[in-house]
Amino acid sequence: MTGPQAPAAGRETYRKPRAPGRGVPLALLVPALLGLAFLLVPLLALLLRAPWRDLPGQLTSPAVWEALRLSLFCATTATALSMVVGVPLAWLLARTEFPGRGLVRALVTLPLVLPPVVGGVALLLALGRNGVVGQWLDAWFGVTLPFTTTGVVLAETFVAMPFLVISVEGTLRAADPRYEEAATTLGASRFTAFRRVTLPLIAPGIAAGAVLAWARALGEFGATITFAGNFPGRTQTMPLAVYLALQNDPAAAIALSLVLLAVSIAVLAGLRDRWMRTA
């Protein structure tokens, strides 16, 4: 490695950014380009092998729109739900001291490493009709969650919320707590300080986390099909439709994937321009 040189070059770029290509160490440029190619080549392959001729037919099929609408609705609802409970959770982890906080933080990120299918089974065992909590939901309120759209939202929230929590917690840690302290010494309650000072301060972090969570929720497959099953119009989201189409009509599956890709790129690009400029 170019140990002694790298920091020197870095210090220089720190002072004045140069044009890309010049001054970028080769040891970084090569792996960076490799990484980029690795991410883009499969997408390119999808585009190259796409059945462009069948695409209009796929796009006009009501089943596709039904799945797409359901996907967008569930991913958005799951993101909203993640924000409602995830931001306070992130605040708790970043701003308070309590025993076992490190463990709690690790547990919060557990769904990131858990295979989503296992997450789905865990949700069934917890919230299913016969589950630890679910049996009471059924007995007291007559609510059963598996095989419902609510089930899809919950499965997606379970998988996507850690992304939001991690992102918001990181922003909170970087934000200067003295602003909040100043607010409280001036008489604001801790909640008011959170609402009027912290929240505006970390808004870009929340936006970034929400975008990550939304993207993750949109592509969710394993937990959804395990917990909520697969029924067109009710629980069959785009990834499920793609998977099942792949079984006997790969061309249709590729077409469906392209629709999902195009929609997510459009939404993410739109959000980035509009919402995350401050980030």
């Binding site: 490695m1 870095g10 792996p31 095989f147 099953g229 792949l246």
Partner: protein
């Protein structure tokens, strides 16, 4: 995300080391890849090496047993299985997956492979499988026939029509004139069964063999319409088999009296 300026120096060095490791790992992958492709081909009577069997998910229990017997009868061989939905297995084979043997849960899925010319010789049916209704233990809803599944409030799961068990269930339901709206179309027979095992669904239409494999966690109910939707299970050696002689021996074991006995115990019907 957070970024602290005083951390950047260390981060850079780590990134450089990571890149070197990645390059090393990549080159290691490519060299091992070329070695395995030039491995000597198994030939003659002495069976050695690995035989790779792609088999329908419903064959999991019985084929695992047969694989162990095969390894015992032919020391030095190893049988590796890839169990999954027949359609995805067929798609894998057609896209060049290095398999020796393909055992499918329906003639239709085997045809996907033979149509592309990937099967060596014509595939033969080695067992048949029949549908059954799986209910939660004790059959609390008193399900005795296919019509009973349409009772309101009953949660029934079926396989999706793209997988063989779903196609067979559809045929049986049509034969019985029963129109059924399930709670879910599951992606394969095992996940349909799991929903009943976890008592999330009251009943599922699955194979006899799956009911048998689940033991006392589910209860099987036979129904006459199942006769209209019996699945043939074909098996074939593959044209590009890396280990053709062992593939031949494995297919022979499956079709032998010994193989049929193991499959019969799992609930499969003779061809």
């Amino acid at each position: 995300m957070t970024r602290f300026p005083r951390r950047t120096r260390r981060t850079r060095r780590i990134a450089g080391a990571g890149a070197a490791a990645a390059v090393l790992a990549l080159s290691a992958c490519s060299s091992s890849g070329s070695e395995s492709s030039s491995s000597p081909e198994a030939s003659g009577q002495d069976l050695t090496g690995t035989v790779t069997v792609f088999a329908a998910a419903s064959l999991k229990e019985s084929f695992t047993t047969l694989g162990e017997r095969f390894e015992k009868e032919h020391p030095g061989t190893r049988v590796t299985f890839n169990f999954g939905g027949s359609d995805s297995l067929a798609a894998g084979i057609n896209n060049g997956a290095p398999a020796d043997v393909f055992a499918a849960a329906s003639a239709k899925t085997m045809k996907l492979v033979t149509d592309e010319g990937h099967a060596a010789g014509s595939p033969g049916t080695f067992v048949r499988n029949r549908l059954e209704i799986a209910t939660v233990p004790g059959n609390p809803h008193g399900i005795d026939a296919l019509e009973d599944l349409t009772a309101s409030g009953l949660k029934v799961v079926l396989c999706d029509r793209t997988v063989p068990c779903g196609a067979a269930a559809r045929t049986a339901l049509e034969a019985g004139g029963v129109s059924l709206t399930p709670a879910s179309y599951e992606q394969d027979v095992k996940s349909a069964l799991t929903k009943v095992q976890l008592k999330e669904a009251d009943a599922a239409v699955v194979y006899r063999t799956d009911v048998k494999a689940a033991g006392d966690k589910v209860e099987g109910v036979e129904f006459p319409e199942a006769a209209e939707a019996v699945n043939d299970y074909p098996i074939a050696r593959l044209e590009n088999a890396p280990n053709p002689s062992a593939a031949k021996a494995f297919v022979a074991l499956v079709k032998s009296a010994e193989g049929q006995k193991v499959l019969g115990e799992a609930g499969f019907l003779e061809p």
